[in-house]
Symmetry: C2
């Protein structure tokens, strides 16, 4: 059975729980509380020297960090991966966008405000995160204005990757009211077969 | 013929020039000077709404932003991509590490110091970038202490992605003297057939 080292509040970890629920893949969960430094212990650094969750471990003991790499591995031959090579590259394009433009701003804002409850402490840094997060949301909304999903007009791991932190962006201080196409897409994702909520 | 929209000083763009040189793929270059806002014009935003280089355009006119997605597309069936599915996921793991932990710290430091020449202006932000950049370099050095390359003991696009900004890290204020395994790996990459330098 697959093992997922994770933190329940993390959208990066939720990506993998959602994909595995929808693909019917059984897995066991091992919780690591990042707010208590549980991913920076010697034991955990022996699993992932980069000290971050999620980490997916195969039944053979192969260790795979990085949420979007693990998403790709789980879904590579499934209905959530387009067959066309250029569309596969577009799935990766949106997943790199997610990790570069979206997650560092929207997930980090949510972590400071919602997980740590320290909005005041991070007030100055939050201003820049909010600006850059809205830039990412504008790019997504413009794309979704004439596409049902991010790649090839069907639900893929690009949608799973971007849904994880977008659907809780308001916990990071981002109002989604100005992004109607994102709102409609969030509803479409939540209607997909096998959908499970984030829990935290 | 493929078209590469790029900025010569950008390591993200160099990744694609290096891969195409080594794969024997012909392409034409269109320079966009990011220091003059040339990727934020209406014309360029029509090509990439995210306003960033590189962008790879196929002979059929298909548009692919994100350096590591374009690397994957160019090399997906080449000798620079492992055949094994788990190793392919590890290639993506290191490429997501590069865009999340490495590039925002090492490339951004280099951009402020070397490209813009504004070390003083960014002094405060540089302190955090230096700390996080060294964390990324430590993870790489520990891995390379007992591996010749990042995945599967042969040169892959994971090496190309990480080489681009690591080999010019000193232009961003990072001394590599404390990372002997990285130094040896940089030499191995530069000895690969078809290697071309970064130019800028």
């Amino acid at each position: 059975m697959l093992t997922l080292y994770e933190f329940s509040s993390s959208g990066n970890c939720y990506k993998l729980r959602l994909a595995m629920a929808q693909l019917g893949i059984a897995f066991r969960r091992i919780e690591k509380d990042i707010t208590r430094g549980e991913t920076r212990t010697a034991d955990f650094l022996a699993i992932n020297p980069n000290g971050r969750i999620p980490v997916l471990v195969t039944p053979e003991g192969q260790v795979l960090p990085e949420s979007n790499a693990a998403l790709w591995y789980l879904a590579r031959e499934s209905q959530f991966m387009p067959k066309d090579a250029f569309q596969q590259a577009q799935v990766l394009q949106w997943m790199f966008f997610e990790q570069y433009n979206h997650e560092p701003n929207i997930a980090t804002s949510r972590y400071w405000i919602h997980v740590l409850g320290e909005r005041e402490k991070y007030a100055e840094a939050l201003a820049e995160k909010q600006q850059k997060g809205h830039e990412a949301l504008r790019v997504m909304d413009a794309h979704l204005a004439d596409h049902d999903f991010f790649v090839g007009e069907s639900y893929s791991i690009a949608d799973i990757a971007l849904y994880a932190y977008t659907h809780v962006a308001e916990q990071g201080g981002f109002s989604l009211k100005a992004y109607p196409a994102i709102g409609n897409w969030l509803n479409r994702v939540a209607e997909q077969p096998g959908y499970v909520p984030m829990e935290a």
